[in-house]
Symmetry: C2
Subunit: 318 residues, 2 copies
Amino acid sequence: MQDKPCVLLLNKALAVLRTDLEKSYRVAAAYDYASLDLLLDDFGNDIRVLITFGGYPPAPALLDRLPDIGLIAVPGAGFDGMDPADLQARGIALTSGAGSNAEDVADFAVGLMIAAARGICESERMVRGGLWTELVPSSMPRSIRDRPVGIVGLGAIGAAIAKRLQAFGCPISWWGPREKPDAPFRRAPDLLSLASESEILIVAAPLTAATRKLIGTELIDALGPDGLLINIARGDLVDEDAVIAALRAGRLGGAALDVQAEEPTPIGKWADVPNLILTPHIGANATASVRTATEMLMENLRRFFAGEPLLSPVRPSA
Amino acid sequence: MQDKPCVLLLNKALAVLRTDLEKSYRVAAAYDYASLDLLLDDFGNDIRVLITFGGYPPAPALLDRLPDIGLIAVPGAGFDGMDPADLQARGIALTSGAGSNAEDVADFAVGLMIAAARGICESERMVRGGLWTELVPSSMPRSIRDRPVGIVGLGAIGAAIAKRLQAFGCPISWWGPREKPDAPFRRAPDLLSLASESEILIVAAPLTAATRKLIGTELIDALGPDGLLINIARGDLVDEDAVIAALRAGRLGGAALDVQAEEPTPIGKWADVPNLILTPHIGANATASVRTATEMLMENLRRFFAGEPLLSPVRPSA
């Protein structure tokens, strides 16, 4: 046992990785312990790798107590809460599962968009409630191919969404801080222009200090009363209070949010908010994403311990 | 007034056409009258065209009392309940809005498929109920790109669905009674093979005497416990009792039905049926479909009264 290197699983939801990890590593699982102190008593000096989700960074005080840690590995695309420069200063590398979940998240984003645009969840609730609606011309939704879609962030996920939406025939634009000369879609001059020109805005950007509450009142009003906001990235990209106020006032047509600022989100704040779909951060919850993210994480660990270049390192931006 | 030709609107839901129609025609609206007898007293001998939906055919006894009728026009793609040969024998032509709604129905079908495959409606209900689920590996849905999709009927709607699904990367096959040498998708040797090979079966066929209850127990069992049945065509294509029994027993993985045998469907029969999405026949409920179907219908009427060849006649099959 003691000859296997030791890795720390920080989240209960990472328990799915445990069987695979235990083939090669000693696993210290935070959820096995009543407190991290007790875990550190058992494993502290042995832990070489910490595994956690984006949004669940280890506290600096925890890192201070892991003298031999050299790698933090996150299975998903997002590593929000972890600063690769700060970690590098501590001698800790960071790897992510960038790209591993792009296809499944894009599938989900398009499903959420159609569900919101065509009233699938709402009408399903009505039918379940015994109300079978007839065609009501005043509530006739606009056809998707007539609705310009704006994608915020054309990374792996944004590009996979755009590829799908091309088949639906809707005009597609995007905005992101860096030009992408190879992208076959028009880049809006800025985010506000994108929101003004779009009827559907899909948020697919990483959460960073620069993108926190990127989608606020001004952008929501630019999207407008016929506009639909879709977020499959991170809840903190969106000012939720601004969304709630705009939906209540009819200044925003609808919102479908797979992610929320706090998860689980306190449901009371959303009560009676109209034209809203909330799902529980399940965009990447599908077999291929989990399989690929697991394979990437295992390979990053293998390379780390073999002293080889990492498969998918997150490097400090220049 | 009397110099305008007279057209009969048979369904209340066709009232959206009335303003356009009244520019050129006298409109006899069945929903204005307590009985058809009273309407016939006013208009019977003048009616030249009858407008109705597929699934709502005029009774032969009504046609017997319309001596001058020469055209039945349906706004949608389906003309179920009306036999072009029978009508031809009465000297009545039939026109449909074939193709008018294909894009919107295909959008809806793909949205319904993703909603069912990825648990959008179900998880949305859980979040609304204050239950914010965490990732549960045992309920991890299979990624859409790994799930072979079978399309029953590769007409305008089926082909529009297939075109969209190509962008999602899932293997696509189809079956229909006629070969389509130009179709870029594999035609299964028969419908049972299609169901056996597919994890998702999408019904996009017309309802005829030959297709009534086409999807019965044998096909449902071929689709199986991991299978998902989507119907955006006509409810009577599917044996609803067989679907309900299979869902209850876990012999079918899930079903999403925008159409039901009786509409509004008696909701009691679906109570507590698991893994089910029911929507109220809104696949074509979007602006472009309604606009195009209206334009086609108006043009068919214009041509009929001008003695020109009809735009979209439905001819008896050879």
